[in-house]
């Protein structure tokens, strides 16, 4: 298969040897689980249990309300001890709503358990999608985008290619590697289900060339009947090949349009872990309750991969990897390039926790002081989005938000390549996040003021319209009156003629004068009525 190259990127040392030496350790149930309600990108999920409730394994405890959202389930059976704000893994370090479960140790599935669907092949597609939604599955590569949404293409959008993103490009992370080595069958089942859901013609399964064992496991277990559908591709390990857009470029040479989605090219991209979760949910009726976490770095004694229940405190996970090494001072969730440092290890594993990386000062010495940009353009040379990071930096500093968007701020995938090579130690990505947040905030403000303006304009328009209508009505009435007056003139003329005639008559016969007076009187009354009406209309406004 002809592979392509994306601009820039970094060749980073592969640090996964330590964590792949031993098989995945399935961790037990911890003493307490703190399950955050918001574990995905998108709209909030609300607790649907109450403090004191007994919950069973797999029971829904967080109900998603919106479309881009995912349910949350109890990872084991036990008592809901608390529903409150707790520290969660988030770069902001803010607390977020969590359901705290005290396990009862029985790890029981209750009545709410979904029945296994061995016959998923014959099920209706809508039912399949609903099942995925019920399973609370999100992308397990770290971005945590609700999977059901991605598997429901817009009307008229045909998806012909499914891409399996097995390119774990960050150094240190080996969760997908280990999954592919140990459970390739489940991944293939998940692919089969997804391929059916989307009706794709081909599946490109990308694995990095530094994962030979995973590749071997896949080649050996690829079912014969899938050989025509699934193509296994070894891609060079250049960071960030695991970025959706970069991987699509490498595999197909096509670029996802700026501001668009892979679906615009007829492609959908998922992480192997997500396919395993799809398989578990659809075939076994097991919602997303746990995930594989790589626990690694020079800051842990025995780096390895563990399968941890969602809600397990980081500290327990570290313990499972032999505990901290001497002098550890930094704990990162995610990889060294895109992960963020957490301040506390009591926070829980969530659906997006693909890696815990512990380091000591000597492994990641604090960079020197931030120096002025020397315009060396090293950042531009490595930027996979082909941006000019230093220009973005100047524009962010100058708060020139129009220019920064024009220069492609929203094409930045925050891969950190630029910050990595910057000799001046400028935390470039932080500036971009700041600018993005600022623009979003302004956008919201603008929308608010737009609504206010629209309301004002609408009101203004209504007033004008009514004014106009009033004026028209007035004009009409005036015209009517004039017509009537004209009519009156005519009638007066007629009347006069009549009167003359009557006078002539009267000359002949007496008592005709009374009638003519009556007629004129009725005319006057009519005019008065119409004036009154107009005045009332005016009061109305």
């Amino acid at each position: 298969m002809q592979l392509h190259r994306f601009h820039g990127g970094l060749k980073l040392a592969d640090e996964t040897d330590a964590s792949t030496a031993e098989p995945v350790l399935v961790m037990g149930v911890p003493a307490k689980l703190t399950v955050p309600l918001g574990q995905h990108i998108g709209e909030a999920t609300e607790a649907c249990v109450q403090v004191g409730d007994h919950v069973t394994k797999g029971q829904r405890i967080g109900q998603s309300k919106g479309y881009i959202a995912a349910h949350v389930h109890a990872p084991t059976s036990g008592k809901v001890a608390d529903i409150d704000l707790y520290p969660v893994p988030h770069p902001s370090g803010l607390n977020a709503p969590c359901v705290v479960i005290e396990p009862d140790g029985r790890d029981e599935w209750g009545d709410a358990r979904m029945e296994p669907w061995l016959d998923w092949d014959t099920r209706d597609l809508r039912a399949l999608r609903q099942r995925l939604r019920a399973g609370g599955i999100v992308g397990l590569g770290g971005a945590a985008f609700p999977t059901a949404v991605k598997l429901n293409p817009r009307a008229g959008q045909r998806i012909h290619t499914l891409i399996v993103n097995g390119a774990e490009c960050e150094p240190y992370i080996s969760a997908d590697d280990m999954l592919l080595r140990t459970a390739p069958e489940a991944v293939f089942e998940g692919i089969r289900i997804t391929a059916r859901l989307l009706g794709v013609e081909r599946v490109l399964f990308a694995v990095e060339d530094n994962m030979p064992e995973a590749m071997r496991a896949l080649t050996e277990t690829l079912p014969t009947e899938l050989r025509d559908l699934i193509e296994l591709v070894s891609v060079p390990s250049i960071y960030p090949t695991g970025g959706e857009r970069q991987l699509i470029k490498v595999l197909t040479g096509q670029e996802v349009p700026s501001g668009g989605l892979p679906a615009d090219l007829g492609m959908v991209c998922h992480n192997p872990g997500t396919f395993k979760a799809i398989c578990d949910t659809v075939i076994q009726g097991r919602p997303l309750l746990s995930r594989i976490v790589t626990v690694t770095g020079p800051g842990v004694k025995h780096p390895r991969n563990v399968e941890a229940l969602l809600g397990t405190p980081f500290a327990d996970v570290i313990e499972a990897a032999g505990g901290y090494a001497e002098g550890v001072d930094r704990l990162v969730m995610g990889g060294p390039m895109m992960g963020f440092a957490v301040h506390d290890d009591s926070i829980p594993v969530i659906k997006a926790t693909n890696c815990l990386l512990a380091t000591r000062p000597q492994d990641t010495p604090s960079p020197g002081p931030v120096m002025p940009c020397i315009r060396c353009a090293e950042c531009a040379a490595v930027c996979p989005a082909q941006l000019l990071p230093q220009q973005l930096y100047w524009q962010a500093k100058a708060k020139d938000f129009d220019a920064i968007q024009d220069y492609g701020l929203f094409d930045c995938i925050e891969c950190g390549c630029c910050a990595y090579v910057c000799p001046s130690n400028i935390p470039l990505v932080q500036y971009y996040r700041y600018a993005k947040n600022e623009i979003w905030a302004r956008e919201k403000e603008r929308q608010k003021s737009d609504i206010a303006r629209e309301r004002y304009e609408f009101r203004q328009e209504r007033i004008e319209r009514e004014e106009r209508e009033k004026a028209e009505r007035l004009a009409k009435k005036k015209a009517a009156v004039k017509n009537k007056e004209n009519d009156g003139d005519k009638q007066a003329a007629i009347q006069a003629a009549l009167e003359r005639a009557q006078k002539k008559k009267a000359a002949r016969a007496e008592g005709s004068e009374k009638n003519s007076e009556k007629g004129t009187g009725s005319e006057t009354n009519g005019e008065e009525t119409s004036t009154t009406n107009d005045t009332r209309d005016g009061d109305d406004r």
């Binding site: 670029e255 060396c376 929203f410 990595y420 090579v421």
Partner: protein, 353 residues
Amino acid sequence: MRFRTQSSPHVIPAHSVGGVMQQVLMALVPGTLAMTWFFGWGVLVNVLLGVLFAVAFEAAMVAARKRPVMATLADNSAIVTGWLFALAIPPLAPFWVTLIGIAFAIIVAKHLYGGLGYNPFNPAMVGYVVVLVSFPREMALWPAATTLPESPLTLLQSLQTVLTGSLPGAQEWDAVTRATPLDAMREGLVSGRTVGEITASPLFGTFTETGWEWVGNFFLLGGLYLLFRRIIHWHIPVAVILGVAIPAGFFWLLDPDSFASPAFHVFSGAVIIGAFFIATDPVSASTTPLGRILYGAGIGVLIFVIRTWGGYPDAVAFAVLLMNMVAPTLDHLTRPRVFGRSRGGPPPGDGHA
């Protein structure tokens, strides 16, 4: 357990400004030694003085601007400026030439514009041009290219000359100095001799005067090292050299008697050091790949034009400063195509919504 938090990436930083500059300094060493070998101890004396003055002015300016002095000095950029300036001036130029040039470079060209990263012009070249136009006599005192053992001055005598501004003993400047190859070529052509007659002089080697051409070779070595270490990219040096060589070659083919060969142009004067060490100064150069090619080519062509028809035989500094002015525009005009957009395509409509 609680941890310090820090922003990503959580890896050992790949480079530091100080480290980059250190590589540049290392790459300057072979050329500097070659220059010392051919032009005498004065070269080393000047480099030492240049670096000393540059660091002193830098420290004073940084302190005056209430910035962290040590952290700023650690970027090594002042040393590079001082060193490059010292290589540009004649090896026996009196110390005050260095002092004035460096003062201008560091104080005016660098710090009055906001310090490292904010200076639109290459500070060393600004300093050089200032002394070049102010002190034409001192700036013409280039010794003949001999070799160190044959050099008329010892290290101590060189030091003395630089500090006092006059040669030791009763030596006359005329006995020590000589026209540079560029000057020789220029004067020769003006006085009606052909290029062939001028280069027939025994001092000429393959391309230009032997000393000059060897110095060029050693700077080239350093430049290639920088390329190899990816401290600089190929665009600017290649464009500068081709920018000189192509028009020079064209005119040379047209009339080889009145125009020097492209090789003469490339290896005389400061083209090599200019192409690899001066034009590549990131702060004042263009930053996009295409912009850098145009920027380098502009410098090259200007060097040839100024040398051939302009007032100064060695035009590298003028060419660099002129192109410094154009660099921001070049950057703007040569923005690369953003991934997923057509060239010059609009920003995503509501990609962020």
